[in-house]
C-alpha cells in the first residue's frame, strides 16, 4: 500500500457521518472491451480499485485491464470515490455478482468492510483475489498480491548499513502513524535490515509525520537542530524524503547524510537521480494487477485457486551502488517507475 495522507477525507468522514455516503457505483465497461472480448476468453471479470487520482492505483488498474483484454476477456471496472470509501466498492462487487463475472480483483478501500461482499461473491462461485492491500482477515479472499513491506524496509536498512560502513551511525526515523500496518512493516524492516531495535542508542530521533513533503521538512529541521550529527535518515515515503532533503540541504552540514525511502514513483526516482534521496525501494503496482488477472484466468481454465500472500517484489534504486546489496540505477528506475515525472 502506498502511504498517503487522507486527512480531508478523514475530516469529512468524521464530521458529517452521513452526507457523503452516496453509494451509487458506476461500473463502466472498459473502452474497446466489446471489440476485444470476441471469443478467446469469452467471459467477464471485475476489477475493483481505489480512487484513480492516485497514480499508484491507476497504474495497477491499467495493467490489470491490459492483461485481461490481451486474453480476450470483458472487463468491468469500478473505483472507490475517496480514500477509505468501501461502500462504493461493496455495491460494485454486488453488481458484478449479478452480472455473472468469473473472478474479481479487489483493492480494498477498507480491509474489514468489504469482507461480507467478498463472501457473497465467493459463495456465488466467483474467485476473489486482493491486490495491494490485504482484507481482514486475509483469508476472506483466495490470495493477495502485494508488496512485502517488511522486505522493502529491510532493503532500505541493509543499504544504509552498508553505505555508512565504519562511521558511527546516528539514525533519524521519519515515520507515519505506526498503528498503520504498512508503516509499521517498513519501520520494522528498516530496523532489522540495519541491525538495530527500537531501543537502540543509535536512534537519535523519531517523529511520526503526515507522510508529506512539508511535515517531513519541519520534522527533519527540528531533529537536526537537536542532533546536528544525524547521518542516516529513514523515510516512510518519497514526498517526505524530499522534504527531509530540503531541511538537510538548508542545514549546511559538514558530513554526508544517507536518506533512504520507499515507493518507486517516477518523481521519487527522479529525486534519487538528483541526489536528494540516496536510495529508494521500488514497488510494482502493475505486477500486482497483472498477476491477479493471470490467477483468475488460470482458475477459470484449470480450476486451481491461488492461495496465501504473494509478494510482487521490491527493487532497490540507487546511483551509489554498494557491493553486497543488489540494486538498479535510476535509468532502469525511470523505465520501470509508476506515475508521472515532473
Amino acid at each position: 500500500m502506498r502511504i498517503r495522507s487522507s486527512y480531508p477525507a478523514l475530516v469529512a468522514a468524521v464530521l458529517v457521518v452521513a452526507s457523503c455516503s452516496s453509494s451509487s457505483s458506476t461500473p463502466t465497461t472498459a473502452a474497446g472491451a466489446s471489440a476485444t472480448s470476441a471469443s478467446a476468453g469469452g467471459y467477464t471479470i471485475g476489477i475493483v480499485e481505489q480512487q484513480l487520482s492516485n497514480p499508484f492505483f491507476a497504474n495497477l488498474e491499467a495493467a490489470a485491464k491490459a492483461e485481461a483484454q490481451a486474453h480476450g476477456l470483458t472487463v468491468i471496472t469500478a473505483e472507490s470515490k475517496v480514500a477509505g470509501d468501501a461502500a462504493t466498492q461493496v455495491t460494485a462487487i454486488q453488481d458484478m455478482i449479478n452480472r455473472g463475472v468469473k473472478g474479481i480483483s479487489l483493492d480494498p478501500g477498507n480491509a474489514t468492510a468489504v469482507v461480507p461482499a467478498v463472501q457473497q461473491a465467493t459463495a456465488a462461485g466467483i474467485l476473489v483475489v486482493a491486490v495491494n492491500t490485504e482484507t481482514s482477515p486475509s483469508t476472506a479472499v483466495a490470495a493477495t498480491y502485494e508488496t512485502d513491506n517488511l522486505a522493502g524496509g529491510k532493503l532500505m536498512g541493509q543499504y544504509a548499513k552498508a553505505k555508512i560502513g565504519s562511521t558511527t551511525p546516528v539514525v533519524a526515523l521519519l515515520d507515519y502513524d505506526l498503528t498503520d500496518k504498512t508503516s509499521k512493516a517498513r519501520h520494522d524492516g528498516f530496523l532489522a535490515g540495519f541491525g538495530i531495535t527500537d531501543s537502540s542508542p543509535e536512534i537519535a530521533a523519531e517523529i511520526a509525520t503526515q507522510a508529506n513533503a512539508d511535515s517531513g521538512q519541519t520534522a527533519m529541521e527540528n531533529m537536526l537542530s537537536a542532533h546536528p550529527d544525524i547521518n542516516v535518515v529513514y523515510t516512510i515515503n518519497e514526498p517526505m524524503a524530499v522534504g527531509a532533503a530540503a531541511a538537510i540541504k538548508a542545514a549546511n552540514l559538514s558530513h554526508p547524510v544517507i536518506v533512504v525511502s520507499i515507493d518507486g514513483s517516477c518523481s521519487g526516482v527522479q529525486a534519487v537521480k538528483n541526489g536528494q534521496i540516496s536510495a529508494t525501494v521500488m514497488q510494482f503496482p502493475s505486477k500486482m494487477g497483472k498477476d491477479a488477472v493471470d490467477a483468475i484466468i488460470n482458475y477459470v481454465s484449470t480450476g486451481q485457486k491461488p492461495s496465501g500472500i504473494i509478494d510482487t517484489g521490491t527493487t532497490l534504486i540507487t546511483d551509489q551502488a554498494i557491493t553486497g546489496v543488489q540494486s538498479q540505477d535510476t535509468t532502469w528506475g525511470l523505465q520501470n517507475c509508476w506515475g508521472a515525472t515532473s
Binding site: 480531508p8 457523503c20 530521533a205 537537536a226 518523481s267
Partner: protein
C-alpha cells in the same frame, strides 16, 4: 457558529488591543495576555531545559516553520471574527501552489503563474463567501464541502504528482539574509508585515470596525446600516488573497508543490487562532493573538523535539491548550453577558 443567528450581548466590539492606552496596560487587559504568557513560559522552559533551543538558528527555524500555517491562520482569523470558519483554507492554498507550479513547470512565465495562483485562491474563497453571505448557509458546512471538492480537484488536476519548481519568482520568498548568524528568509518579513497591515486595517479603519460589528451581532450591524453581505463576501476574498500569499511562501520554503501537502493546515490554523484568544463565536479577538498562537504551536513542536519527547505528546499538549483557550473565552463571554 452560524452567521445568521443574532446573539444577545453588547453591540460594542472588542478588538485585541484597545486604542489609546500604554501598550503594556492594553496588553494586560486584552485577549492576548494569556497566550503571550504561555508563549514566554514555553520559551523559558525549553531554554532552560535544552542546550539547543535558544540558539539564533533555532529561533529562526521556529519562525520559518510558522510562516505558512501562520499566514493561513491570518486569513482564518478574519473569517472567524465574522463568526465564520474556513475549513478549506489549506486546500485552497495547495490548489494555488499546484496551479502556480504546474504552470511554470510546463514552461509558463513565473509572473503569470503567480497571478494565476492569486486568482484561483481568491475565486475559491469567493465561492465560499458568496454561498455564506447570499444563502445564509453555515460556513462550517459550506467550507467543509469546499474542502472535499477542492482537495479532490487538486489531485485530479495534478494527477497526484508533485511538481518541483525551478528557482524563479515563485521561490523568491525563500531567499534569505543573515541576521546575527541566523538565516532569515524574506517570507518571515512578508509574514510579519501582513500581520501589521491586518492589525492596522482591523483596528484603525471603518472596514475593520464593520467586520467586528458583523461578527459580534449581525442584526445590530445590519440595523446600523452596514452592508452585511458585502462585508462578509469581501472578508472571504481578502482571506483568499492571503491564502495565495501563503501558497507563495510555501513554494519559497520548499520548491515542491505536493498535492497531498498541508493536509492538516486547516485545523492547525484554527488551532492557532483559538489559542491566540480569538473567539470562535465572532467579534472578539485579533490578529496579534493569532501570531502568538502560531508561534506557541511551533515552539511546542520544536522544543519537545529538542527535549527528545515523543512527538505524540506535542499533540496532547496542543489539544489541551485549545480546550483551555476556548474555556477562557467562554468565561469572559459569560462575565460580559451578566
Amino acid at each position: 457558529m452560524t452567521a445568521e443567528s443574532p446573539k444577545p450581548g453588547s453591540v460594542h466590539a472588542t478588538p485585541a488591543l484597545p486604542a489609546g492606552e500604554p501598550v503594556w496596560r492594553a496588553l494586560l487587559g486584552s485577549t492576548v495576555a494569556g497566550p503571550l504568557v504561555a508563549l514566554l513560559l514555553a520559551c523559558l522552559v525549553f531554554s532552560l531545559g535544552t542546550r539547543t533551543f535558544l540558539r539564533a538558528e533555532n529561533i529562526s527555524l521556529i519562525f520559518q516553520q510558522s510562516v505558512v500555517v501562520g499566514t493561513l491562520a491570518l486569513g482564518q482569523t478574519l473569517i472567524i471574527l465574522t463568526a465564520g470558519i474556513d475549513l478549506a483554507n489549506g486546500s485552497i492554498a495547495v490548489l494555488g501552489m499546484v496551479v502556480m507550479a504546474k504552470y511554470v513547470v510546463e514552461g509558463g512565465d513565473p509572473i503569470v503563474a503567480l497571478l494565476l495562483g492569486f486568482v484561483v485562491c481568491m475565486v475559491m474563497a469567493a465561492i465560499s463567501g458568496t454561498i455564506v453571505s447570499r444563502f445564509n448557509l453555515p460556513p462550517f458546512i459550506v467550507t467543509l464541502g469546499m474542502l472535499t471538492a477542492i482537495a479532490a480537484s487538486t489531485r485530479l488536476y495534478s494527477s497526484s504528482a508533485s511538481y518541483t519548481v525551478p528557482p524563479s519568482l515563485l521561490t523568491w520568498l525563500g531567499n534569505s539574509i543573515k541576521v546575527g548568524g541566523a538565516t532569515v528568509p524574506y517570507s518571515i518579513f512578508v509574514w510579519l508585515a501582513l500581520f501589521a497591515v491586518a492589525h492596522y486595517a482591523l483596528t484603525q479603519t471603518a472596514a475593520g470596525r464593520h467586520l467586528f460589528a458583523v461578527g459580534d451581532n449581525i442584526e445590530a450591524a445590519r440595523l446600523a446600516g452596514i452592508n452585511v453581505r458585502r462585508t462578509l463576501l469581501s472578508v472571504y476574498v481578502v482571506a483568499g488573497a492571503i491564502y495565495a500569499i501563503g501558497a507563495w511562501e510555501a513554494l519559497g520554503r520548499i520548491p515542491v508543490a505536493d498535492p497531498n501537502g498541508y493536509s492538516t493546515a486547516n485545523l492547525d490554523s484554527i488551532t492557532a487562532v483559538v489559542i491566540g484568544g480569538t473567539s470562535l463565536f465572532g467579534g472578539r479577538g485579533g490578529v496579534f493573538g493569532t501570531l502568538i498562537g502560531t508561534l506557541i504551536v511551533a515552539v511546542l513542536a520544536n522544543g519537545l523535539t529538542q527535549a527528545n519527547i515523543d512527538s505524540l505528546y506535542q499533540q496532547v499538549a496542543i489539544g489541551i491548550l485549545v480546550i483551555v483557550a476556548v474555556a477562557v473565552d467562554q468565561l469572559v463571554r459569560r462575565r460580559r453577558a451578566s
